[in-house]
Amino acid sequence: AQSVTQPDARVTVSEGASLQLRCKYSYSGTPYLFWYVQYPRQGLQLLLKYYSGDPVVQGVNGFEAEFIKSNSSFHLRKASVHWSDSAVYFCAVSAYTGNYKYVFGAGTRLKVIA
């Protein structure tokens, strides 16, 4: 069965600084990979996804992520964060085990400070 690890429960960065949120997955094949964002009192929204091709995928609001198969990682990056990026970010993996099964990481709470 697949699993997802987001090792950082909380991350604090200064506005304008760069950001990397880490995600590692466990699955024997090549999974489909996602990053979702959750703003306060809202549901999750898709930021970006990878399912084939260029391992660097672009998402909304300047976010990107890179699939590194050799490292089983799919880290999320942003060159310059804004205070409005403060939210909880979830990495997710979808893999085939008879049916496709989505597994979410525990989430990383990002706080952007002035």
């Binding site: 996602f34 809202q42 549901g43 999750l44 979830f90 893999a95 496709y100 979410f104 525990a106």
Partner: protein, 114 residues
């Protein structure tokens, strides 16, 4: 307008009472999901529905049941609610079970069982 709605948004019940959470979507998605979200645990899948009357248990189905009589509606039922079912519940939908399909989430229902 692609939307997933959930009713009610907030609910307080006493232990032993029955609970009905309702979810609707306007995208004609075949697949729908119920998750619960608890601090530090991310999202845990309770049930998945592949279409009308085609439901499967997720990872934590105990204490819950579901009903899907129309493609656009998916209900979560707690018979005799327990205090450990206090949580935030999210409904989501996606196109027919394809691993790379985005899930669209509702705003959540915050359930408190006293």
């Amino acid at each position: 307008d692609m939307k997933v709605t959930q009713m009610p948004r907030y609910l307080i019940k006493r232990m032993g009472e029955n609970v009905l959470l309702e979810c609707g979507q306007d995208m004609s998605h075949e697949t729908m999901y119920w998750y619960r979200q608890d601090p530090g645990l991310g999202l845990q899948l309770i049930y998945i529905s592949y279409d009308v009357d085609s439901n499967s248990e997720g990872d934590i189905p105990k204490g819950y049941r579901v009903s899907r009589k129309k493609r656009e509606h998916f209900s979560l039922i707690l018979d005799s609610a327990k205090t450990n079912q206090t949580s935030v519940y999210f409904c989501a939908s996606s196109r027919r079970d394809r691993g790379y399909a985005e899930q669209f989430f509702g705003p959540g229902t915050r359930l408190t069982v006293l």
